[in-house]
């Protein structure tokens, strides 16, 4: 844990130095929120807790998935190609410690980002909603590990530094496009269940409603456990296949 703690501090310093990424991860969703919902600040409408939480959950899903892909998974690929993952590995001694330290640093930053976003959200809708405030934070704390594990599938790819951002953009585009496809076809339903953005939105929705006393169904709990377990298995497999040495450049 000593090693994780030391590396965690380094990742926090390094992440907070990256102001452009911070803006991309948080400012863009806030700008979009303002652009589409600012009218409700001036002309309040009656909304239910469910509607508010449903709206917020997709923004949380965006903030979480973009942060994890940019700052954890594809960051590891970039560190590998630049040679400093190799350097780090021989200092720390374990790929798991490096991933855990980076993930903990991003969870810390996500807690701040989600809190800031939620405050803006509640101001716009002129409401105080503990389901949203606590739900967003709990979702961040509970769901980032399985979602990061699911993204470890990219670690098995022999991806060059120049190709990684393209793959990331296509992946995000694909995940959000899938959200818009509501179909009774079983295959599409399964694909949607496995979609990390859908997983984040649906589960953060249910976690927030739980804060307000809505107990989820047994079917939902089984589905949640199954998908979470599947994501974790992908993570273990992906990280075990992750090579330390760069693929393109020698280091």
């Amino acid at each position: 844990m000593n090693k994780v703690k030391a590396l965690y501090k380094v990742y926090i310093v390094s992440s907070l130095n990256n102001k452009v990424v911070f803006m991309y991860n948080l400012l863009l969703p806030i700008v979009y929120l303002l652009a589409t919902n600012l009218k409700y600040f001036f002309q309040p409408v009656q909304t239910t807790n469910q509607e508010l939480i449903n709206t917020a959950s997709y923004f949380w899903a965006y903030i979480i998935i973009v942060t994890l892909l940019n700052m954890v998974t594809f960051e590891m690929l970039s560190e590998r190609e630049s040679g400093y993952f190799k350097e780090l590995f021989f200092i720390v001694g374990s790929k798991w410690h490096i991933l855990l330290a980076d993930l903990l640093a991003q969870v810390t930053i996500l807690v701040l980002e989600i809190t800031l976003f939620n405050i803006v959200f509640l101001v716009i809708f002129r409401t105080i909603n503990f389901g949203i405030l606590l739900g967003g934070l709990l979702a961040t704390l509970l769901l980032t590990i399985p979602v990061t594990c699911s993204s470890c599938i990219f670690l098995i790819l022999k991806v060059k530094a120049q190709t990684a951002p393209i793959i990331e953009t296509i992946t995000l585009f694909g995940m959000f496009t899938l959200l818009g496809i509501k179909n009774e076809n079983t295959l599409i339903k399964i694909v949607n269940l496995l979609n990390p953005v859908e997983y984040l939105a649906q589960n953060s929705n249910n976690i927030s409603l739980l804060m307000l006393g809505n107990i989820p169904s047994g079917t939902y709990v089984i589905q949640f456990i199954t998908i979470t377990t599947f994501y974790i298995l992908i993570g273990v497999w992906g990280l075990s296949k992750f090579t330390i040495s760069p693929i393109e450049n020698r280091a």
Partner: protein
């Protein structure tokens, strides 16, 4: 530490072929050879990064007992030198009175103190070499691997780096293997030379053995003969 009939291929490219050589535990082991002869590949293989026949390497510590300073000088660019040193010290769980070698203290006072608040990304190549080599010497491992530790370093700092690395052997009784193009700088230390060329080891032994084998008075002249 012995290497026997080691062969490494990257795709269709054979880098090492039935390589035999020996590394000494009480000397500075210096791997020499022209560019592209497999020096980094050999270090990577010793570090457990390349698949190889299990019988090919014997006497080497496990991966957890290695420190490896790679050739490329990349590290968190937004960290200061102080933060980088702190990272290494905290990972090793150093007590406040951690025993550094006298050479490390000299390097700290002469070089590192002056750049302690500078960000790693803003250092020159030579300064990064000094800092990252110093940091690697803070780790408590059995075997230290340094890939081109003198690359981009001026002569004064090169001498300090060599002394710091040599102190790992002479003061801390650790094992060191490094690659270099400049053998003359190491002549005042007990060294074991391994010369690679054409996928094989052309020579493995001390500097005196090299001079005797080639009947030369200067190491560089002896190396020219070996590499022909």
């Amino acid at each position: 530490m012995q290497v026997k009939k080691l062969s490494i291929t990257y795709g269709k490219n054979q880098v090492l072929s039935n390589l035999d050589c020996k590394f000494e535990t009480d000397k500075l082991n210096v791997i020499l050879g022209p560019n592209g002869t497999g020096k980094t590949t050999l270090l990577d293989t010793i570090a457990g990064l390349n698949k190889h026949d299990e019988q090919a390497l014997s006497g080497f510590p496990t991966q957890k007992q290695l420190a490896y300073k790679a050739q490329q000088l990349h590290f968190f660019p937004s960290l200061t030198v102080k933060q980088t040193i702190q990272l290494y010290a905290e990972i090793e769980n150093h007590p406040k009175n951690f025993n550094k070698t006298s050479t490390m203290n000299t390097i700290y006072n002469q070089v590192i103190k002056g750049i302690i608040d500078k960000k790693i990304g803003k250092l020159s190549g030579g300064e990064k070499q000094v800092v990252l080599t110093y940091c690697n010497c803070l780790l408590d491992r059995e075997l230290y691997l340094f890939d081109e530790p003198l690359s981009g370093v001026d002569i004064n700092n090169a001498n300090l780096i060599i002394k710091m690395i040599a102190a790992l052997v002479t003061e801390k009784h650790k094992q060191v293997i490094l690659t270099s193009h400049d053998i003359e700088l190491f002549e005042s230390f007990p060294i074991n030379i391994v010369v690679l060329n054409h996928q094989k080891c052309m020579f493995s032994g001390t500097d005196h053995e090299l001079l005797n084998a080639t009947n030369k008075a200067q190491i560089n002249d002896a190396l020219r003969i070996i590499l022909k």
